[in-house]
């Protein structure tokens, strides 16, 4: 072959192999990059005043007086929103008005009974009140302006009756009055559409039964049980998205028959054109920063806090602790087992059948899938082994770490074996020549010399143990629990937590940054552990090099 071709091939090959290294780095960046970027928003974000309220209530953090000073102007700005919606609602929401007059009617009955009015008087009064209620219900639900005005007029006539003064019925009159005035401006044909749209607007602003809103529940409303519904948007990016949904709702419209629907945004302000509600939208758009007061927050307590409301708020502190505990305990089991086994295989081995069988078993162990380990851990450690010591058949850190130790044992043995084998024979021979027994030689000479390699094995095992999900699933991990008091308690871990959020509930959909945050925390933790071990290894290597 001509020399030119050969050099071309050569250069090409060098280029291709360099490219493969670049490819590896690129893959690493592609895999880690998006996750780290999205996960960092769990710690760095623009937090609103709602977030600071949450921190104060749940974690007693932050200066209360300062916070109150912040909340006051925010509340003032919000008041306009509440008022405008309330006044519009009176004309539009027949269901709530109906509920109100029903409730007032019942109240009136109770009032009468407590005043001691009985007999015919009672019946007459109740009958009259009931009539008013029915007329009003008819009014609220009708679209006929004439009928409404007629009914309202009829009801307001009854207002002049002295007997109703100071009772619940008087409130009914106020409602009727407000209603009469409110509907003057509203096109009753559109009322149903208004009601539906208004319901959406309220859901976005104050939160529905399932999702929190922009501003949180109205002051004075009953506080919801679920914590996430008690606050408005705690992050500015979520707030902006909600604002967008509020101002420009999406509708999927058909452009062409037989083609997929196309999303279209239209302005909600246009929907309410000409009504009292119209100025609301421009107001909210302009004043939202004032209402929420976003500020750049560095939420480093994410790594320390416990999760509030199934990870909707709060952090991953207990999970980090759980992962660290689990890893350390598993390492405590696997390091001695691994190093001793490796020592045996290197020092005391003859090439006979037994050693071959042992090696075969170690390699088979390396190939068992992690889910089988999980089942094995459940059946053996949780149900059989630990109860034999009186620990009760429940999952625990101990059971999970034992399972994880068995999982990484082959890795540890292999790495340790490599390390011990690579210690130069001369060390051993010198030590033996000086009169030390083989045991002493091993412990005092070979082992320290092999330490860097063993540390590599420890590093690899650490990463494996911290990241495994399937083995801890059945043996030691809980979705929610307290901080473990001892190794006989189960715990929450980062790996299980990430898997849980991804497959468990709709939290993952609502707070994706929490999902990514947990995974990134896991990766960062593993990297930190790796870095610590690598540092340790280089220090020991340096010390060893100095010894030579």
């Amino acid at each position: 072959m001509k020399t030119k071709f050969r050099t071309i091939f050569d250069r090409l090959f060098t280029g291709v192999s360099a490219f493969s290294a670049v490819l590896l780095t690129a893959i690493l960046l592609i895999v880690l990059g998006p996750m780290i970027i999205k996960g960092s928003t769990a710690v760095f974000f623009r937090g609103t005043v709602e977030f600071r309220k949450l921190q104060r209530d749940e974690f007693n953090r932050g200066n209360n007086t300062e916070l109150e000073k912040e909340i006051e102007p925010a509340e003032k700005t919000r008041r306009f929103v509440y008022e405008i919606i309330d006044s519009f609602k009176r004309g539009v929401d027949p269901q709530s008005l109906t509920d109100q007059v029903r409730q007032l009617n019942r109240q009136y009955g109770q009032e009468l009974r407590s005043k001691g009015i009985t007999g015919d008087d009672y019946r007459d009064l109740r009958e009259a009140a009931r009539q008013i209620r029915d007329k009003l219900e008819e009014t609220f639900n009708s679209a006929d302006k004439d009928l409404i005005n007629e009914n309202i007029g009829f009801v307001l006539e009854l207002k002049k009756d002295e007997r109703f003064k100071g009772t619940a019925v008087e409130e009914m009159f106020t409602i009727a009055d407000d209603f009469g005035r409110a509907i003057e401006e509203i096109d009753l044909q559109k009322r149903e559409k208004y009601a539906q749209s208004l319901a959406e607007v309220e859901d976005i602003l104050f939160g529905s039964e399932q999702m929190p809103g922009l501003l949180g529940p109205k002051p004075g409303d009953k506080l919801p049980q679920t914590i996430r519904l008690r606050y408005g948007a705690t992050r500015w990016d979520v707030a902006k998205k909600l604002l967008n949904d509020l101002l420009y709702p999406v509708q999927w419209v058909e452009i062409e028959n037989g083609k997929p629907l196309v999303p279209q945004r239209h302005s909600r302000a246009e929907e309410f054109e000409g009504t009292r509600l119209e100025p609301l939208f421009a107001y909210i758009e302009n004043e939202l920063p004032e209402m929420l007061k976003p500020k750049l927050t560095f939420y480093w307590q994410y790594f320390v806090d416990k999760s509030i409301d199934s990870h909707y708020f709060g952090g991953v502190g207990p999970e980090i602790l759980g992962t660290i505990l689990l890893t350390i305990t598993a390492m405590i089991f696997v390091i001695p087992l691994g190093v001793i086994s490796a020592a045996f295989l290197v020092e005391c081995s003859a090439n006979n059948l037994i050693i071959k069988i042992i090696r075969m078993c170690i390699n088979t162990l390396a190939g068992v899938p992690s889910i089988v380990f999980g089942l094995f851990g459940l059946a053996f450690f949780v149900l059989y082994f630990l109860p034999a010591f009186g620990a009760g058949p429940k999952g625990s850190i101990l059971a999970a770490s034992l399972t994880l130790a068995v999982l990484t044992l082959p890795l540890m043995i292999r790495a340790s074996e490599e390390a011990i084998r690579s210690v130069p024979q001369t060390y051993k021979e010198a030590s033996l020549a000086l009169g030390a027994g083989s045991f002493k030689t091993f412990v005092k000479v070979t082992l320290p010399a092999a330490l860097p390699g063993i540390l590599t094995g420890i590093i690899l095992s650490l990463s494996r143990v911290a990241g495994e999900t399937a083995p801890v699933l059945f043996t030691g991990a809980v979705a929610m629990g307290t901080l473990p008091r001892s190794i006989l308690d189960p715990t929450m871990t980062l790996s299980y937590g990430s898997y849980n959020i991804a497959t468990g509930d709709n939290i993952g959909m609502q707070v994706p940054h929490k999902q990514f945050g947990m995974i990134v925390t896991l990766v960062l933790l593993i990297l930190l552990l790796n870095a610590a071990a690598i540092l340790l290894r280089s220090r020991i290597s340096k010390k060893l090099k100095g010894m030579r």
């Binding site: 399932q210 679920t226 914590i227 008091r485 001892s486 939290i507």
Partner: protein
């Protein structure tokens, strides 16, 4: 090296010692279905705040595992998204002296969803069945666009799958090309990102990214599920060993769904409370 080992041993022994000296707190162990899991967690959260001496642990390992744990007395309350199988689990429980008592805490509706860009708005249960059996393969046969139908189902051992299988599939087999996902969020993610997809999720997973279809003319809402008109709904259970003693923490947990606070939490978790609180 030695320092590391000594350090580790000290930590472990300290932690173990604390277990021996800590006061005995009352514990409640809850294990079972991943569907009912969020309700269990939310209840547990509430209880931890309300009763300071109580420790609650929640494990989400699956309905079958929850049943097995209750039978082995490994947990106090088992969450299950289906009833105990009479010939396997129930019988085994009775043999071991465990009398399972079911408490229905909420209803879950199985909603058929498609991508929002899909023009199809409603289907009959017959049509859904034929889609999953592989007889209908293109949306244009149903009045939609000319694109392939990607059918997505929950894995065969999930309770959601069983409900769907029984009430819509009428126990017929699904076609081989049907994709299986292992959880509600995954099903939701698949349908919301694939324009030709059809799948089914629990009612708590309906949001703007997927579109729920009317089945036989009924839209899945809180009302239609509670009054029984929506056909594909199923109850969610908590199982205990016998009826829990009145006034005990277990009893309070199992009857929490009857309180207004409990029903509010159930609704916030994405399920349908049993009454119109």
């Amino acid at each position: 090296m030695k320092k590391m080992i000594a350090f580790g041993l000290i930590i472990v022994s300290l932690v173990s010692a604390s277990h021996l000296t800590a006061a005995e707190k009352e514990t409640l162990q809850i294990q079972g279905s991943t569907t009912v899991g969020p309700v269990g967690e939310a209840f547990a959260q509430y209880f931890k705040r309300a009763y300071s001496g109580l420790e609650v642990t929640v494990q989400k390992t699956g309905s079958s595992d929850g049943a097995a744990a209750l039978i082995d007395s490994r947990c106090d309350i088992a969450m299950m998204s289906r009833f105990m199988k009479p010939d396997k689990e129930f019988k085994l429980a009775v043999e071991k002296g465990v009398m399972p008592v079911a408490h229905v805490v909420a209803m879950d509706g199985v909603c058929v969803v498609v991508h929002p860009s899909n023009p199809v708005k409603e289907l009959t249960s017959e049509q859904v069945r034929e889609i999953y059996m592989g007889k209908i393969t293109n949306w244009k046969e149903l009045g939609g666009t000319d694109s392939a139908i990607v059918a997505i189902s929950r894995d065969t051992s999930s309770g959601t799958y069983e409900t769907f299988h029984e009430l819509i599939m009428e126990k017929q087999e699904m076609a081989a090309g049907v994709e299986y996902v292992s959880s509600n969020p995954q099903a939701h993610a698949r349908v919301s990102t694939t324009t030709g997809a059809i799948g089914y999720v629990g009612i708590g997973f309906l949001d703007s990214k997927v579109k729920a279809l009317k089945i036989d003319g009924i839209m899945p809402t809180k009302e239609t599920i509670t009054n029984g008109t929506y056909p594909v709904a199923r109850p969610l259970f908590l199982f205990t060993n016998g009826y829990p003693k009145l006034g005990s923490m277990k009893h309070r947990f199992c009857t929490f769904y009857l309180t207004e606070a409990g029903q509010e939490i159930i609704e916030a978790s994405g399920f349908v409370p049993l009454t119109n609180y």
